[in-house]
Each structure stands twice: as structure tokens, then as C-alpha cells.
């Protein structure tokens, strides 16, 4: 029996775990299981798994009108179908890389089709560890989309909203949220205050006024500080406001700004510098008493481990469409909880991920607030939600998103409606440049 055949036979017998004796020689040591053993290893669970099987996986790219959605972020939806008629939906939207995320979902197909969706943890491990190359936003988003769909199925089959499978709800009144907002003058900020209070919303998030270099000129430093001072004056003391630094400054520049904005008592300052180097972020974080938040670009529990261990930030912001779905968001929240770190999950994509996030939010005691990339006015987005899911875009009531009530994630996406928004390809995240033409971090 040749080596390939031997390994194939062992895999088919579910015996690869038994460390078959390796033939010595020169080679990469890679073992390729044949199609008959897919999903790999599934046979060993035949007596202890459920009868439910995933029979098909579909990926949808969804491009909205440019008036309401930026061209860099078509939605990527994942649909899983089962042998018992139950289907699950998840979202794998990745800004600027929709085609790559869609392709990566398909790359994971052999792990998923034929598998038992009750085994959410095992399938998560299969996609993350079994992929060999771990982490990264493309794989993270693909896993996220599939994982959410698996939990959707689990909830529907068990007859419970997903947060009830995660130990929740912690608070039946719903999930506190915040909207994005912009105000450039004191008058605008005051008008925004009135509009926000009328809507019952309790928290907002703003941007910095300028792009920033790694050392900055006096003019831009002053403008950044004055902008936040103006916002606090205009919004008054009752509205929590966060400012998203969006990884524009270096730790050096962030530290200067953070020093001066302490008296304005921000809700949090987000991504005060680029996210890759935790110890660099710590340089600025040590000097500040303003609560700091980060995490939207980090993948899986592993991506957050150093950040939590080093105690750098006060708030973590994993994105359920990138971090690894419900499984990973819950794990990050559990680690953060033990370290006294709060959760404000990021969500700047579509409706499926937004709703999936609410389920985890509702089940974690260290939850702070949920981002949704909506403004105080819902506008055109309502029509898209009506089209896709049959109800209007989720809105806060008294500052909170009411909890989804149906089993699973709590909605069905209309496949027919998706055809109205055919995939138009993806555009890169739009770049920005400093006055000398060098590339800025936006």
C-alpha cells in the first residue's frame, strides 16, 4: 500500500489520531486525506453526535447602493443548509476584501459540508487550527461567517435565542448601544445633544478632525484637543461620547492628546495608535487615565491574549464578523471579564453580524456598549433591512437594542431579495495622504 493510500485508509477509519507510524524519508510530511474522509475525522463522532448534518453552504456577496453603503464593504453572507430543513445565516463581511473573504469561506467548505452543526466548538477548532495558517482577517472573517451560521442553526434546533445558550440574558432590558455622529461647531454639537436625548440614546462616537503623523505640529495637536473640548461643551455632561483615533496617531502623538483630554471624561478613546504592537500601545496607555479601547482588527482569542495579560486597555472591541464569530467573541469576553476589562464589540458591517453581536452582548456580564455603524437617523437603511429580512433596521429604544426574541439569531434572510443586490466586486479601503503625499493611516 502506498503512503497516500495508507493515510487515506486510516483517516477513513477515523484512526489518524492514533499517530500512524511515519515512513522515513525526505518530504514535507504533509498528509492529504482523500475526499471520502470529509469532514476530516467526523466518523469518530457517529455515536456521540446528533443526527443533524450540514448539507450545503452558500456564500453571497451583496452590494448596496453607493448612497447608503461604501463601495469597499459589500456584505458577505453565509448560508448553511441542513438535512432537517433548518438553515443558518452568518456574516463574513471584510472591508476592502469581500472577494477574498468569499473565497476563503469556500476554502473551508470541506470542513463544513457533511458536518454536525451541534459541534460548534469542534468545528471552530477545525477551521482555526485545522487551517494550519492561523488567524488573519481573511480567515477570521470566513470563520466568523460560518460560526455565526452554525450558532443560528444550534439555536433554532434547540428552540432558543443564542444568548440563552451562552448563559444569558444578563439584562433583559436589552443591549446598550451607541451611534456614530459628527459635529464640527458648538451649535452642531448642541443640536446633536437635543436630537440624541430625544431619541433616548445615551452614547455617541466621533472622529478626530485631522490625519496625524508620528510626530505632530502644534496646529493639529491643538485642533484635536479643542475638538473634543467643544464636543463636551456642546453635548453637556449627560451624553457619553467616545472618540475613535482610528489608529491615526503614533503612541508618541496619542500620549500628548490623551494627556490634555482627560478633563473631558470621554466614554473611551479608541485605537489610539496602530494595533499590531501591543507594547507600543502600552507606551501611550500608561500615561493616560482616559479609558482606552481597541481590538476591531484582532483575530481569535489568541489575538487578544497579550492585550489582556499586559492590562493595556479598559475596553475590548472585537468584531463578530472578523474575530471568529460567536465562539471567539464569547471567549474573548470571558478572558476580558476575569481581567476587569469591558466589552464594546465593533460592528461596521451588515445586519446579520450586528444582530449576532447582540446575542453575545446579552450574555456577558462585562458588556459596555454595542457599536452599530448607524447614525441617529436610520434613513435609507430601513428599506434594505425590510427587503432582506422583513423588518426595519434595528434601532435602540431608550438607548438599548431590545433583545432578539426568536430561536437562533432570530431572523431569516430572503435569498430572493439578495438577488436584488448583486455582487459588484469590491473596492479597496480608500487611502488617505498627508500634505506631502505620504500615506496616512486613516
Amino acid at each position: 500500500m502506498r503512503r497516500r493510500e495508507m493515510l487515506g485508509a486510516l483517516a477513513a477509519a477515523g484512526a489518524l489520531h492514533a499517530s500512524p507510524r511515519r515512513k522515513s524519508g525526505i518530504g514535507c510530511g504533509c498528509a492529504f486525506a482523500p475526499a471520502s474522509a470529509i469532514p476530516p475525522g467526523s466518523e469518530v463522532f457517529k455515536d456521540v453526535g446528533s443526527q443533524l448534518r450540514i448539507t450545503d453552504m452558500k456564500v453571497f456577496g451583496v452590494t448596496l447602493d453607493e448612497k447608503i453603503a461604501r463601495a469597499d464593504r459589500p456584505y458577505v453572507f453565509v448560508k448553511l443548509e441542513t438535512n432537517q430543513g433548518v438553515v443558518g445565516w452568518g456574516e463574513a463581511t471584510l472591508e476592502g476584501k469581500a472577494s477574498a473573504a468569499m473565497a476563503c469561506v469556500n476554502d473551508l467548505r470541506d470542513f463544513i459540508v457533511g458536518s454536525d452543526p451541534m459541534q460548534s466548538e469542534h468545528l471552530y477548532q477545525l477551521m482555526y487550527i485545522g487551517s494550519f495558517y492561523r488567524g488573519g482577517p481573511v480567515l477570521g472573517s470566513a470563520i466568523s461567517g460560518i460560526d455565526q451560521a452554525i450558532w443560528d442553526i444550534r439555536g433554532k434546533v434547540l428552540g432558543r435565542p443564542v444568548y440563552e445558550l451562552l448563559g444569558g440574558p444578563v439584562d433583559t432590558q436589552g443591549v446598550r448601544g451607541y451611534y456614530h455622529a459628527a459635529a464640527w461647531t458648538l451649535e452642531e454639537a448642541r443640536a446633536l445633544r437635543d436630537q440624541t436625548k430625544q431619541a433616548g440614546v445615551t452614547a455617541l462616537k466621533f472622529q478626530l478632525p485631522d490625519l496625524l503623523e508620528w510626530v505632530e505640529t502644534g496646529r493639529k495637536l491643538t485642533r484635536a484637543v479643542k475638538h473634543m473640548e467643544m464636543l463636551r461643551n456642546g453635548l453637556g455632561p449627560d451624553i457619553d461620547f467616545a472618540v475613535d483615533f482610528h489608529a491615526r496617531p503614533s503612541p508618541t502623538v496619542a500620549a500628548i492628546i490623551l494627556r490634555e483630554i482627560e478633563p473631558f471624561h470621554l466614554f473611551f478613546a479608541e485605537e489610539i495608535c496602530p494595533p499590531e504592537n501591543m507594547r507600543a500601545m502600552q507606551r501611550a496607555a500608561r500615561k493616560s487615565t482616559t479609558p482606552l479601547a481597541t481590538g476591531e482588527r484582532l483575530i481569535a482569542g489568541y489575538g487578544f491574549s497579550d492585550l489582556i495579560d499586559l492590562g493595556i486597555v479598559d475596553v475590548l472591541q472585537p468584531d463578530i464578523a472578523h474575530v471568529g464569530g460567536i465562539t471567539a467573541l464569547w471567549k474573548v469576553a470571558a478572558a476580558a471579564d476575569a481581567a476587569g476589562i469591558r466589552m464594546a464589540p465593533h460592528a461596521c458591517e451588515g445586519p446579520v453580524g450586528g444582530i449576532a453581536s447582540l446575542h453575545v452582548d446579552a450574555a456577558i456580564p462585562n458588556f459596555l456598549a454595542q457599536e452599530i455603524c448607524g447614525l441617529v437617523e436610520a434613513g435609507e437603511m430601513n428599506r434594505v433591512w425590510e427587503d432582506l429580512m422583513g423588518f426595519s433596521a434595528m434601532r435602540m429604544v431608550g438607548g438599548r437594542y431590545p433583545l432578539p426574541a426568536k430561536p437562533g439569531l432570530g431572523f431569516e434572510v430572503s435569498e430572493a431579495a439578495l438577488k436584488k443586490y448583486p455582487f459588484q466586486g469590491t473596492r479597496p479601503f480608500p487611502p488617505a495622504f498627508h500634505e506631502d503625499g505620504s500615506l496616512a493611516s486613516l
Binding site: 455515536d47 453526535g49 464569547w330 432578539p404 431572523f411
Partner: protein
């Protein structure tokens, strides 16, 4: 498992009042004691308004703690494990017992084994570790042979009690003689955990751990009671023998601290003091440090069965400890409580029970029979 799709509910709505068929209506508790070893544990019986019954086990608890657990659980729905984790945080045995009973109820209500409810199976059988009773090699010999005969392939070996007058080299020799003798009694291909029960100084523990590095024991358990960062780091720094820690730990942050300092290779939360929901959170943190979870257990058979479901829900589970009674009377009691012994092994592993809830029947007459007090 076939379910209809729900269509008549609004997509978002406030939670309904918590008085449905699944809310807890009655709670009953038994304080149990094994006749020979005197080992104590508590079993709770939770009944919902709809008449569904779930059982949970925790460590020894007072009547007042059981009454408090009853107050905490009554009117709650069994999905509210996060509420219970916080509400009963100061009463670890009851936090463990109520959470266990909640999961039993959820599994039974959804006609799903608990490990599937929790996202498993991640494995189709769970490795088990027999905790042998006895202090001397002669006392350990009989239960060791019996456990090996019943399919166990891993065992704990207590270290001899040490006083400071016992020279270290002579002490290491004594430990080595004990391990050697038990190894030869057990036969080939058996594994051992050296249990120090928190009795050594960090310095002695480091020396002992270093001396046994090449014996390929599975790990050194609870090397010291000196739980300072520096004391523990010393043991971990000097030796490559894996260290198991945490049988008395009841808060997640303590484990997080051990992981940060790199001074633990296996988390050993006790099933009697930590709920399954809490251990799952500990495991999520351990996972990012490439550290495995091996729950400690010195309680009864219901928690053993629950522990196997926990094991099948975790990606980073390694082994589940099971008390292996030296006395036939204790063994009989444990088997009676669960209507037949669940604490068996085959080739070193326990099977999963693919039945709703934890998948066995509790015999309430047996609970009454062995109860010191029923609340």
C-alpha cells in the same frame, strides 16, 4: 431533533416575564456523606413549574448555603447561568450545584446531551484519572490494582508527608521508591500524577520536580501552598515537569494570574467548587496560553458524570479526575446514587452518554439513604 421554524414572534421584543414552564419552582438539597471515607458532597434537585427535574452536585455545604441556593434559583430559568455564577459567587459549592442542575434541565428540555448543548462533542471519549485513597504504598496497592483492572490507566500517587528534618536526597529517594513500586504493580503503559497536595515549600517542590523530569510522570500536582507569583515562578523556572494547580481556586482571575506568570501547565479547578459554566470560562483563557484543563474532583458520582460532559465541550481538556473509593461500601453508595456506576473506564477513557441532560437516572431513595440532612 426536528423543530419547526418560528414565525409568529416579533423579531425583537422585551423578555417575557420569567414565570414560564421552565422557571424553577422547587429546590431540594441532600447533604451526603460516604459511610467509610467520610467524603462529603451536596446534591440539589431542581424542579420547574412544568415538572421537569434536574440534578446538580457541589462540594460540602451547610444548610444555610443550601437555603441560599434555593432562594437564588427559585423563579429563575435554567438558561440564566451567568446570573447564578454571580449571585452564588460567595458560595462556590452551591454555584457549582445550581449551574449543574440548570444544565441538566436545559439538556433534558431540549432532549440534548449537555455536551451538545454546550457546543460539543469536541472528543468522543474523555481521559480519566483515578484518585487513589491511601497514604502508604501498602494502602495504595489494592485500589491501584483494582482501578487498573477496571480500565483506568492513570493514577494519582500521594507524596510521603515530609518534615524539615528529612534530608532532601533521602526524601527524593523515598518518592522515587514509591513511584517505582506503584509503577511495577500497575503494569506497563500506565501513567502517574505525583500529588503534593500543596504541602511542599517552593524550593523543595522545584527540587522534586527537577528530580522527576526524566521519569515522564504526567505532572506534579499542587506542588506548594505558597501561592505567590515568585514562589510558583521558581518551580516553573527550574523544572520542565508540568505543574497542575488550583484545586482550591474558586475565582477565574487567580487562574488568569497563574497563566500570565507562566507557572501552570494544567488548570485544576475542582468540580465541587466551580460550575461547568465557570470552568468553561477558565478554559477559554487557558486556551490562548496553550494550557490544558484537568478538573480536580473529590466529590460524588453526579459531578463525575457532569465533568465528562464538560470535557466533551472543551477543546483543551486533558483528563478528568475521579475518586476511586478504597471501600466497597463507598463504591456501592456511589453506584446507587446514579442507578448503576457511571465511574467506569475503558482503556483509560470514559465514554460519553448520548442521552438528554447528563444522561442517567438519579435514585432519590439512595440520596435519602445516605443523607445526613435533607433541606
Amino acid at each position: 431533533m426536528r423543530r419547526k421554524i418560528w414565525s409568529n414572534l416579533p423579531p425583537f421584543s422585551p423578555q417575557a416575564a420569567v414565570t414560564d414552564r421552565l422557571s424553577i419552582a422547587n429546590v431540594r438539597g441532600w447533604r451526603l456523606r460516604e459511610p467509610s471515607s467520610g467524603r462529603r458532597y451536596t446534591v440539589l434537585r431542581l424542579e420547574t413549574r412544568g415538572g421537569l427535574v434536574g440534578y446538580g452536585e457541589g462540594g460540602p455545604a451547610s444548610a444555610a448555603q443550601i437555603a441560599d441556593a434555593k432562594a437564588a434559583a427559585t423563579g429563575r430559568r435554567p438558561n440564566e447561568t451567568e446570573f447564578i455564577r454571580h449571585r452564588l459567587a460567595a458560595s462556590p459549592p452551591m454555584e457549582a450545584a445550581v449551574d449543574c442542575a440548570f444544565l441538566d434541565l436545559l439538556g433534558k428540555d431540549t432532549k440534548t446531551p449537555v455536551y451538545q448543548f454546550l457546543g460539543g462533542p469536541t472528543r468522543f471519549k474523555a481521559r480519566v484519572l483515578a484518585h487513589l485513597e491511601g497514604r502508604t504504598e501498602d494502602e495504595l496497592a489494592t485500589p491501584l490494582r483494582r482501578a487498573a483492572g477496571q480500565g483506568f490507566k492513570a493514577f494519582t500517587v500521594p507524596i510521603p508527608a515530609r518534615d524539615s528534618l528529612w534530608r532532601m536526597q533521602a526524601y527524593v529517594d523515598a518518592v522515587r521508591a514509591r513511584v517505582g513500586r506503584l509503577r511495577s504493580l500497575a503494569g506497563a503503559d500506565m501513567d502517574f500524577v505525583l500529588d503534593a497536595a500543596g504541602t511542599l515549600t517552593p524550593g523543595d517542590a522545584a527540587l522534586l520536580a527537577t528530580a522527576f523530569e526524566k521519569d515522564h510522570l504526567m505532572w506534579l500536582d499542587e506542588p506548594t501552598g505558597v501561592l505567590t507569583n515568585d514562589g510558583l515562578a521558581r518551580i516553573a523556572d527550574e523544572s520542565v515537569l508540568p505543574l497542575g494547580m488550583g484545586r482550591g481556586v474558586t475565582d477565574i482571575a487567580t487562574f488568569q494570574n497563574l497563566l500570565r506568570w507562566g507557572s501552570v501547565d494544567l488548570l485544576r479547578p475542582s468540580l465541587g467548587l466551580n460550575s461547568i459554566s465557570k470552568i468553561r470560562r477558565m478554559a477559554a483563557i487557558a486556551e490562548t496560553h496553550y494550557v490544558a484543563v484537568a478538573p480536580y474532583h473529590d466529590g460524588g458520582p453526579i459531578a463525575t458524570a457532569a465533568g465528562i460532559h464538560l470535557a466533551a465541550s472543551l477543546p483543551n481538556f486533558f483528563i478528568q479526575q475521579i475518586p476511586f473509593p478504597a471501600s466497597d461500601r463507598d463504591a456501592a453508595m456511589r453506584a446507587e446514587l446514579t442507578s448503576g456506576s457511571l465511574e467506569t473506564a475503558k482503556d483509560g477513557f470514559a465514554p460519553l452518554r448520548n442521552r438528554p441532560g447528563f444522561g442517567f437516572n438519579v435514585d432519590e431513595r439512595a440520596l435519602d439513604r445516605y443523607s445526613e440532612e435533607t433541606i
